[in-house]
């Protein structure tokens, strides 16, 4: 970002100027508020004051340690992973509407999960509760690798080919999932449907650790390459002329995003809109520079999913709503608003 010494602020742009000086301050504040709120709200009430002074009943303590904290933290990590991958994908495809779905993670994971639920009755007990997670991770990455290989077969490693290969492979995976859905009985169909709507209900400490182990290095990797992603937005040839090894950069971005989204999808099913909307929001409020966009998306994505999941597990208690429904309910209207804003010519100004 340019130093602002020579940049005269237009009138009325003070909040934005403030955001530019410390762009991560507001997102971090939001995340802190979301985490605090999420820790206190739930089926077992844990008042903030009791939490702060540590005056908790045994049940409150047990619920906090075994259920709520891992869940809230998992929501944060998954939200961050999805938003960061979305930001990186949008940069890679030079398209603000791109999301990690383009590289097949979600469709491949869904196909693998459907296969386990519908076909692999005896096998599903093998990994116990992690059966679906393992299948989702493997299926998502396998599909991504397939798209990647097809793209390389075309000779040039072009994002356009990748997009087209992605559409085709996604369609095939979708057909496979559809066929398995057709074969499924009631109970399997229910399991499959709920999986595709996402849930953080299975949050356990190991899941938090696993996703964080993948998502944190991937995010660091993307932040390190953020300047090059900026330059890639000028065009691939331009980026190479500016000394950026675009093939390597594309590989780094795809592998980082695929691993993070794969891990996120594995533990939480498919949660839509976070990867699309959060980077958009950051671009509108803070700016398009990936060196800020990626960390800010991580923080804001975490905050958004923590809030959405808190809604998901409280508004219909004792039952819970699939969190994907909540994020889409928030994300859908917001996205429409963005489109309107974009078409009325005020986008980005």
């Amino acid at each position: 970002m340019m130093p602002s010494a020579e940049t005269s602020s237009p009138p009325g742009a003070r909040p934005r100027a403030l955001l530019r000086r410390s762009p991560l301050a507001l997102p971090i504040l939001l995340l802190a508020a979301a985490l605090t709120g999420a820790a206190t709200i739930g089926a077992v009430p844990i008042p903030l004051d009791a939490l702060l002074i540590g005056d908790l009943t045994d049940q409150q303590e047990a619920v906090l340690a075994a259920i709520r904290l891992p869940r809230v933290l998992l929501a944060a990590v998954v939200g961050a992973a999805l938003a960061v991958s979305g930001a990186a994908m949008q940069g890679l495809f030079r398209n603000p509407l791109a999301d990690p779905g383009l590289i097949g993670i979600a469709s491949g994971a869904a196909l693998a999960v459907a296969a386990v639920i519908v076909l692999a009755g005896p096998l599903s007990g093998l990994f116990g509760l992690y059966g679906l997670a393992v299948a989702a991770f493997a299926g998502g990455l396998a599909t991504c690798v397939l798209i990647f290989r097809f793209t390389q077969l075309t000779g040039a490693f072009s994002v356009t080919y990748m997009l087209l290969a992605g559409i085709a492979v996604n369609a095939i995976a979708g057909a496979g999932t559809g066929f398995l859905t057709y074969l499924s009985d009631d109970q399997q169909l229910r399991a499959l449907t709920f999986w595709t709507m996402g849930s953080l209900g299975g949050a356990l400490w190991p899941a938090v650790v696993v996703v964080a182990t993948v998502a944190v290095p991937a995010t660091v990797m993307l932040v390190r390459h953020a300047g090059e992603i900026n330059i890639l937005l000028l065009g691939e040839d331009e980026a190479r002329h500016l000394g950026v090894d675009t093939d390597r950069l594309k590989r780094v971005v795809i592998v980082s995003a695929a691993l993070s989204v794969g891990a996120a999808v594995a533990v939480s099913g498919i949660i839509g809109f976070v990867g699309l909307v959060v980077p958009h929001l950051v671009r509108l409020t803070i700016g398009p520079d990936h060196r800020v966009l990626i960390p800010a998306s991580a923080v804001l994505g975490a905050a958004l999913l923590v809030v959405a999941d808190t809604c998901a597990r409280t508004i219909v208690a004792p039952a819970e709503m699939p969190v994907g429904i909540v994020t889409s309910l928030i994300g859908g209207p917001f996205f429409l608003w963005l489109l309107l804003k974009q078409y009325s010519g005020r986008f980005g100004i």
């Binding site: 089926a43 709520r68 990994f127 116990g128 997670a133």
Partner: protein, 282 residues
Amino acid sequence: MKRPILSFLIAAAVAVTATTAWAEAPRRVVSIGGAVTEIIYALGAEKLIAGCDTTSYFPKAAEKLPKIGYMRALSAEGILSLRPDLVLMTDEAGPPAVIEQLRAAGLNMISVAPGRTLDGVRENIRTVAVALGREAQAADILTALARDEAALVAAVDAMESHPKVMFILQHGGGAPMVAGTGTAADSIIRLAGGKNAVTGYRGYKPLTPESAVVLQPDAMLITDQGLKQAGGKDGLMAAPGVALTPAAQAGRIHAMDSLLLLGFGPRTATAALDLNRMLRAE
């Protein structure tokens, strides 16, 4: 609310078919629904079955019968190709358009409501028996059922308290799918002298793990199939919230075959007795 109307319709249907069936007893029957097939076997009429759906897997011999697919995703031509002169089916069979096509094709069709009580089971046994002309065999089954029921009532009356039971339909890694009110699981739990731990919603829904702790179930009930999917008792114990319930702390996690537990067929009274024994053993 719907029951009386349904019973009336069924009675009417039986009356209509009974007159035709009197002259010519059915010889090729397609059976749709695990409980319906069980009843046919119990009546000793299995030789009449030309085909059945995939939920018909008890007794074991039924697995070998020609299959017409899953009961909610039937195809009209598949059923017609078996040239049945009678289709005996549960109300849950579908899709509705296919059922309508079968009716339009002039098939003789009798449907029974999914049982939720022993009375419902008795009614279904009678309906099927009349349709197949096996009233004599039905009388024997009903006698045995009455005997089991008496034993069950005595056992339930003898209970000092009615433990809270949580039924987990499946646990695939997210939030567990748990039975609320108005479900077959709710019915069998109450029949066996327990109370459903979940009264906050109807049907099967994902239960937020913290609620499992708040609801304090004394026992957990799951199908064999569901337990296998969850990775056995150890797997289920590791799921969020489960370990913090009194049920898990006392090791009271019971598993039963899903058709036996939820099918409401001829074995339901013995299934309820088994379940009652498990609950009392605590």
